[in-house]
Symmetry: C2
Subunit: 250 residues, 2 copies
């Protein structure tokens, strides 16, 4: 059984990504980050999701991004509410035109770099991340070209990459599943081209318990979602379009 | 004055890289990592080097790679001594054919990812790293193709990359100095194609005080170099070839 490292934030997207990788036959290790985020309640959500899905191992990496500062997610800056996130359709959503203050500098680069180290030590050749470039906040490190560039880097950076066939460019098209070359590292981003509606539908099909997840960037007392930050707005859009009720708002 | 983030380990190569970037006119911020390395004495060396070179700011990022394990540099595994590091000449050295146990999984990927976050927050577009692919230990993440792939990634991952011209491939040839496109992030690796002899000569020319540096992977009591690990062997080769005495062995 192939082993995969799945980045698990505790949000809706990463929970669906985990379920998708499990259905694809991977033995999953869940990797979460305690990076000084204000919405630390998501780490508890990640615990609940990992437990409910029966993952073999859960790793929490501590890394204090507050030393660098620069984002509303790690500093005492107001999280923007009720932003215009652009029109969206189920076929082809359109993201917002500018990068918001909630963007954490180089976050996905750092997370994927650490996942790569974890994969290398655990002899995993597969890494999965729940990025989405349709109904999203406009972060540059969620785009397909970013994921492709990381996959290329990963195969140059590591023992696995060096030991597998060299020289040739490596793709990360999730439609192909694993990279066709034996031993190459593959970055899976199965939600990349889905809308939030599509993600909710996929999650329901995979029996993801959305009641265990947490999406809000700025939770109220008791961890209840604020319902106005980008993450809450996008989540609501997903459930509404899928004709389902969000169990967190029940 | 352009600001640059310089990765400063406290070893010989990073000290020369810092001096090189300063001579190139950059206002340098020194970034070091406390990653659970056994040779933590190098962090004190980094302090001394940063002070002696008058850097504007010194950042130490804590990150515990021991959670992943997998390397003699972070675990209680013996550091290999007196390895055959391949023949070398001043023109074209040849590295060893296999990746040694001292390789830390994905280390330079992680370090550069964190440097990228630091650069983004500090409004720096330049990052410098003292990797060398001639007289080196054979780590995959020291090769020029790795540095080029990281530069491409950096320009897709960040606000700076998005705001600069998009679409076009980005080079990182250190001979060109900065990337020609305004606003693009450039990864400088000025020692990439030098031998250890060339690095020692460049350092002497730039008045680097090698007495302040520390290269050994497995220091003896008092921080004295073991003289048998890869780093010590390569350093000795550099000083011998340059016809200079290593002040650490005085």
């Amino acid at each position: 059984m192939n082993r995969a490292i799945v980045l698990l934030s505790g949000g809706m997207d990463s929970a669906v990504t985990l379920a998708y990788m499990q259905r694809s036959g991977f033995d999953c290790i869940a990797l979460s980050f305690d990076y000084g985020q204000r919405h630390r309640v998501e780490l508890e959500a990640a615990d609940r999701v990992a437990t409910s899905r029966g993952v073999r191992e859960r790793v929490v990496q501590h890394i204090d991004l507050r030393a660098f500062g620069g984002s509303a997610l790690t500093q005492e800056i107001a999280v923007p509410k009720d932003r215009d996130l652009g029109g969206t359709t189920e076929i082809n959503g359109v993201g917002p035109s500018e990068i918001p203050i909630t963007y954490v500098p180089a976050r996905n680069t750092i997370f994927l770099a650490l996942a790569l180290a974890c994969a290398e030590v655990r002899s995993a050749r597969d890494i999965a991340i729940g990025v989405n470039a349709v109904d999203y906040s406009g972060y540059p490190d969620c785009r397909p070209e970013f994921i492709e560039a990381f996959a290329r880097l990963a195969n140059l950076a590591t023992r696995a990459g060096v030991e597998s066939a060299q020289g040739e460019a490596v793709g990360s098209d999730p439609a192909r599943g694993r990279d066709s070359r034996r031993g190459a590292i593959c970055i899976h981003a199965p939600l990349q081209r889905l809308t939030k509606v599509g993600i909710v539908r996929l999650g329901l099909e995979l029996k993801v318990d959305f009641a265990l997840t947490s999406s809000c960037y700025d939770p109220l007392a008791g961890g209840r979602p604020c319902q106005h930050c980008d993450a809450c707005v996008l989540r609501a859009r997903g459930f509404a379009g899928a004709g389902a009720a969000d169990p967190l708002l029940g």
